[in-house]
Subunit: 231 residues, 2 copies
């Protein structure tokens, strides 16, 4: 299994996917057929056009996955897939309804290079229970692809200093997750990604990631760190 | 139906429920028997003790609702209920599993004064689809009490100025909700609440609330404003 799980699609003041494109292209290698999954946004066609433009500039042939039988064909045609960010509940519900979840899981275990940003990174985890998104639609289950055995919290950020807002901080939310679930969580800051190649996982990008487990203190891992112990 | 739906349990630099206690006591009136629902937090007993202490100081007799048959008895005994904040998914899952949701709905329509803060305000809405919380556990359905026909987004806050964080703003999240759902949303800022008495609803507290609808621009309502048009 080869995967690139990215915290965010766009860095502040940069273009769409610019910060992680070199890492994506390295993983894609000689492959040229890319499927794009646009279901996390409402405007699927506009989203697909944006992705086709961005990956087209890199010389890739891009087809958008559609929520019908052709979608399965597109996933079988592809050598790599990129699942775009947006709302994780909407994304999961759509791939469940058309059973694309099963095809995506089988193909990813069978050699398809899986790449996802934000909601697309959530989808690679055992469940979507560590998404930041609002539950605007109801999937039949929170179970996701399970390509990796840990959870990712994308767009991770430290508690703001000096805030008077009383809503939970991100770390409080993830602590609540660990009260209810034994699964390890990686808080993946913007600009960062996790690369998985077989039994090896490494942290890419420019920022450290926070690894949260039950019964031990949160642990920072530096850019470039080995994360294979989490697989 | 009488209800007080509060954005947040605690204002910055104030004590637990201090900011909304006068409004709660006005609604409670001569009633003395209060049930407290602690399921949104992991430590139910500690939470129940805190609520018993706080409402006890106001001369109320407090019993915690338990996730068993006695819980139903407690809701039948009570003249008012307060549903505490925490994680909305955990709260909803627990009241679903023990069918306390049905009893709570029936009793609230039958004269029980319903009060809830944060997750407890979400619970009074048609669904929990406008919660800010992380989906750490999976309820069988997102359907909630439906005591009011609109959705509340508690802890509502304006987009931060000067932030370089690329996660969605609250308004973007609620816009995504409206893409998928026709229901009106009230963005309820901290320090604010909605009081419902029969066919009348008013905005209480010190901050304006944002009313979001499909196809019209968001509209600010001032403290004290009539919200009966949303019922």
């Amino acid at each position: 299994m080869q995967a690139l799980l990215v915290s965010n699609s766009t860095n502040h003041d940069e273009g769409y996917l610019d910060h992680c494109m070199p890492a994506m292209l390295e993983l894609i290698g000689e492959r040229r057929r890319l499927a794009f999954v646009p279901f996390a946004l409402f405007d699927r066609e506009g989203y697909a056009a944006r992705a086709a433009d961005r990956f087209g500039r890199e010389g890739l042939e891009v087809r958008a996955v559609t929520a019908d039988t052709t979608g399965h064909d597109t996933l079988r045609w592809a050598e790599a897939v990129f699942v775009g960010g947006g709302n994780t509940f909407r994304l999961l519900k759509t791939v469940q309804e058309h059973d694309l979840l099963t095809t995506l899981r089988q193909r990813s275990r069978d050699g398809l290079v899986y790449m996802g940003a934000s909601a697309g990174a959530n989808l690679a985890c055992p469940t979507i229970r560590t998404t930041n998104d609002m539950p605007i639609v109801q999937p039949v289950s929170f179970d996701a692809l399970g390509l990796v055995p840990f959870q990712i919290n994308p767009h991770y950020l430290n508690p703001p200093t000096g805030s008077t807002h009383m809503g939970e901080t991100r770390e409080q939310r993830l602590t609540e997750f660990l009260e209810e679930n034994p699964t390890v969580v990686v808080g993946l800051r913007e600009g960062s990604w996790i690369k998985v190649a077989g039994a090896a996982a490494t942290l890419g990008g420019l920022r450290p990631a926070l690894v949260l487990k039950r019964e031990t203190a949160p642990e920072e891992r530096s850019p470039g760190a080995d994360l294979s112990d989490l697989l």
